[in-house]
Symmetry: C2
Subunit: 208 residues, 2 copies
């Protein structure tokens, strides 16, 4: 498969949300114009995005909502379940685990880890926080698919190295630090404080 740009993947996620909204409202077809308008893009871009994955839709009739949403779910790997571990049972980890919306699309929390004696053994919903020392043993037979990394910045690289050694190939990092990983491991970094700082910068540079 051709290399797909991150911006395309992001739009596919958006299209899927609109398609599911249409499904819930009982609508059977959607035009590229409607997808474009709701995704903040052009209908030419919508057609180009979807053309990566084969041919959809009939000219003048639009796309079948059921067919297109099922195909996008398949393309994005959302028709299956992914096993996720949360490494770092701090405030961000807790916020993520509490927000079930993050995990509604087949993202299933398999385990939560921490290194702090005060946290290990405590209950988080249906999970008991496990000692990070168990990570390698727990994952040896059947590595989880995704690790959500919510440890402090100074522990992030060493923890990522262990996650990588455990055979996990996808990481969502919340530590405010750039991490090094082998080419076959995908690491995405989310940092809310940095988003706010970017807004602060935008406000400041506008005033200047």
């Amino acid at each position: 498969m051709k290399r797909i740009a991150d911006s395309t993947v992001r739009r596919l996620s958006l299209y899927l949300r609109f398609l599911e909204d249409f499904e819930q409202r009982g609508l059977e077809t959607i035009s590229s114009d409607e997808l474009a308008r709701r995704g903040g893009t052009t209908s030419a871009q919508v057609r180009k995005d979807l053309s990566f994955f084969g041919s959809f839709g009939k000219r003048g009739l639009g796309y079948s909502v059921a067919e297109l949403s099922s195909r996008i779910r398949e393309i994005m790997g959302l028709a299956r379940e992914w096993r996720v571990i949360i490494v770092g049972a701090g405030k961000i980890g807790a916020a993520l685990a509490q927000y079930r919306g993050f995990f509604q699309r087949g993202f299933h929390i398999a385990a939560v880890y921490d290194s702090s004696p005060e946290k290990i053994g405590r209950s988080w919903d249906s999970h008991t926080i496990r000692d990070i020392r168990n990570l390698e043993r727990d994952t040896a037979a059947n590595p989880p698919d995704i690790a959500v990394l919510t440890v402090p910045a100074e522990a992030a690289q060493a923890t990522l190295d262990r996650i990588v050694a455990a055979g996990i190939k996808a990481v969502l990092n919340f530590a405010p630090v750039q991490l090094q990983a082998p080419a076959d491991v995908t690491v995405r970094t989310v940092n809310m404080a940095m988003e706010l700082e970017a807004l602060s910068f935008a406000l400041t540079s506008r005033e200047g």
Copy 2:
């Protein structure tokens, strides 16, 4: 001031974190090599990033940690306090308000709003959730600087329109939808579910 790329702003945020770490450890200078290594970039890039904002550092001596961190805080508008409102007292809003780390750098929560009768009047730490109908009246005299938008997708554009009309110029949007705003309003969108979906896509396209 020249238009600064988003990636540069992101690196400034990272540099600031390393500088503060150095400050705490009592170190007085830092080299562009050290900043580069920790920021996952090159020392040439570090020097280029910092040169946007004037001249720093002395060849062979590195940067003064105190001077550079203070200058970056000033550049990014982090030497002052920003008034933030949270619009939408759902799970994401609650997770954000609970995670004080988001608000440690001068981001002060001025008020929390919701439209749901079950939520209005409830207490969130030191805030009582206010009826969104008060938004215009509350902000008329002294608009907040930043709105964090955590309403459902279908309400996001209409709510953003009210935020814009209230004179707020920076918005951090957590609704999974592309929003339209005037050119003088900066909107940044964060979507954790979409980050997980991008990982799902990366894992799927690698297997295929």
